[in-house]
């Protein structure tokens, strides 16, 4: 075609070609303004988020005398891991002086089934509400949403009565049910709204493919909802792992969760407060949810429905 006005076609000297300006992929400057702003902001915010953790860690490594005298920000003069050992292994809950370790497995035994059951129920609810609406479903859903606003404490006695009547009071399954009930409003809402934003054609295609209620849920919708499952896991693992009230009200001492120990370590009203042990115990208790966060965070996949539909 006619010779182009400005840019030179092939055949121009190498030097000339270089003079034509940028070529190839746009370089990513490490110190571009965008990056400085981005990482700068993230860094500053991270500091705000980490400050309390810093204080906790530092405090947990100090001895009590140092805490009594010192500045909360100053690093420990003499690092001691004794508070950690104590929190984990020797802190007393009444007479049982084996620290948090005592309740650890109980907590696991409570958390795993409760998280699984509550997420299972709620995700199915949300799916049914978003894709298989039946008459009256909305009413129950609205009740559920209002239920999210009821303070837990108010429900303690009615639930005691219900559990007593169905004979599950004091058992692990009773507690699992209680967690599922109180997790239901928020989780159901979470899932319902997420499923509702999935392209409807996908659901239709699966129906034509012959998948039924469960088939569509398990094989199409659930795999497409990883991020929201992660959020649900985060919510439930944290909520149930850290739950104290239900764990202690609806079970027996031999199945008390770790938080009862934590509470006992931290909440002694009369007597000496061992701040260092408290801090260590809190961090230790938080480790399990933290690990879950870190692992499941990988499931925050980008563009989860990409390529599914056009338009």
């Amino acid at each position: 075609m006619a010779d182009p006005a400005v840019p030179l076609p092939a055949g121009a000297g190498a030097a000339e070609r270089e003079a034509l300006g940028p070529r190839g992929p746009k370089p990513r400057h490490v110190f571009s303004r965008r990056n400085i702003f981005l990482y700068g902001t993230l860094f500053v915010v991270a500091v705000y988020y980490l400050l309390p953790l810093y204080v906790m860690v530092v405090t947990s490594l100090k001895g009590m005398p140092e805490i009594r005298l010192g500045n909360i920000f100053s690093p420990p003069l003499e690092i001691t891991f004794e508070p950690w050992v104590k929190a984990w292994a020797t802190a007393c809950t009444g007479l049982n002086c084996d620290g948090l370790s005592r309740g650890f497995w109980n907590s696991v035994r409570i958390t795993v089934p409760s998280v699984l059951l509550s997420i299972a129920i709620a995700s199915v609810n949300g799916y049914a509400l978003a894709n298989w609406r039946f008459k009256g479903a909305d009413t129950f859903f609205v009740i559920l949403i209002v239920g999210a606003f009821i303070p837990y404490q108010v429900m303690i006695y009615p639930i005691v009565i219900i559990l007593r009547e169905i004979g599950l009071y004091g058992s692990l399954s009773g507690l699992v049910i209680v967690h599922s009930i109180f997790g239901m409003p928020i989780l159901t809402l979470l899932f319902r709204n997420y499923f509702a934003s999935m392209p409807e054609e996908l659901f239709r295609a699966a129906r034509v493919d012959g998948a039924g209620f469960w088939g569509i849920f398990l094989r199409i919708m659930a795999p497409m909802s990883l991020p929201i499952f992660v959020v649900a896991i985060i919510l439930q693992v944290t909520g149930i792992w850290n739950d104290f009230l239900f764990g202690v009200v609806y079970t027996r001492p031999d199945t008390y969760p770790m938080t009862v120990q934590l509470n006992n370590i931290v909440n002694s009203v009369q007597g000496v407060k061992e701040y260092n042990v408290n801090m260590a115990a809190t961090i230790l208790t938080g480790l399990v949810p933290l690990i879950v966060y870190f692992i499941s965070g990988k499931l925050f996949v980008r563009g989860i429905a990409a390529g599914a539909v056009k338009g």
């Binding site: 915010v45 209002v146 009821i150 108010v154 809402l189 997420y194 991020p227 931290v266 966060y293 870190f294």
Partner: protein, 297 residues
């Protein structure tokens, strides 16, 4: 011709109905049943144990004559407004920052989220320390030579509720961020491309295109935040126990204190009935508008 008539509507979507049984039971037995029970007993003078000893509206008269209850309501409104606005804004901003295909996303996300994992019993104490004028941030800044610096939100009755919000945001925004991030990840890449070609600046793309598309996520978030606000309890207990004086009392704490410390179930139930009533008045019409009728959220 088999089944030429409309089949019994009861059996349509049978699977969905069967799958919803736990929800239906929870909603009707636990929430409706439990609530009715609570309302019923709020008209009694139950003390330690629920007893059907009706006293009419006495509990309610007393409730509304109690200064602490009035302060609680006022605090809830202030606290609610602050945490709603700021957790939404901060949570979304953080999510948007994390969504920029940055490095160390996992690390940053975990940093913003970890407070959510820590029990408030102790983190409340840490915030109490940090905000303590004698050895917290104020102290440090003054030591740096800024002697007129004053920052003691937890120890000043008039701003204590704002001080409490600082820790509330610290703890709660991580979760909001995750929710928002999940929502952002569901947005089609082509939408971003279209906006880029249209020359819409990033912030406007977020504000006018992406956020409206994330409406369902925002509604979820809103309900989570709002229900958290109404139920706020631990946070206040851990930081101020309602102090100084009664300056940072909240309704849920009133309910709890009167049910279990004061062993006056009737009073606690009356207070929680009032809370629930206001929630119902706000939520139910909205929820029907939002979730009823049309098919898609």
């Amino acid at each position: 011709m088999s089944k030429s008539e409309r089949p019994n509507p009861l059996f349509r979507n049978l699977n969905a109905k069967v799958a919803s049984i736990p929800m239906i039971l929870t909603a009707s037995v636990v929430f409706v049943g439990g609530t009715l029970w609570t309302v019923l007993y709020s008209f009694t003078n139950s003390k330690l144990l629920p007893r059907l000893n009706f006293v009419g509206l006495d509990q309610y008269y007393r409730l509304w004559a109690t200064p602490r209850w009035l302060v609680s309501i006022e605090n809830l409104l202030i606290y609610g407004a602050i945490s709603l606005v700021f957790s939404l804004v901060i949570g979304f901003l953080l999510a948007a920052l994390l969504d920029q295909k940055i490095r160390f996303e996992d690390t940053f996300r975990t940093i913003f989220l970890y407070p959510f994992a820590l029990s408030f019993i102790v983190t409340g104490l840490v915030w109490q320390w940090l905000l303590n004028p004698d050895f917290g941030i104020q102290h440090v800044v003054r030591d740096l030579g800024w002697t007129s610096f004053s920052f003691d939100p937890l120890y000043n009755s008039s701003i204590v509720i704002y001080g409490i919000s600082i820790a509330a945001l610290w703890q709660g925004t991580g979760l909001i961020m995750c929710l928002m991030l999940a929502g952002l990840r569901g947005i089609d890449e082509d939408i971003w491309k279209a906006a880029r070609v249209d020359g819409i600046p990033m912030w406007k793309t977020y504000l006018f295109i992406v956020i409206p598309m994330m409406r369902p996520v925002f509604i979820t978030t809103l309900v989570i935040i709002a229900s958290g606000i109404v139920k706020v309890y631990d946070l206040v207990v851990a930081q101020t126990s309602g102090g100084p004086g009664i300056a940072s009392e909240v309704p849920a704490k009133y309910v709890y204190d009167y049910m279990f410390f004061a062993q006056n179930l009737g009073q606690g139930f009356a207070a929680s009935t009032m809370m629930l009533l206001s929630v119902v008045i706000v939520i139910v019409p909205w929820a029907y508008l939002e979730f009823g009728g049309k098919k898609r959220g």
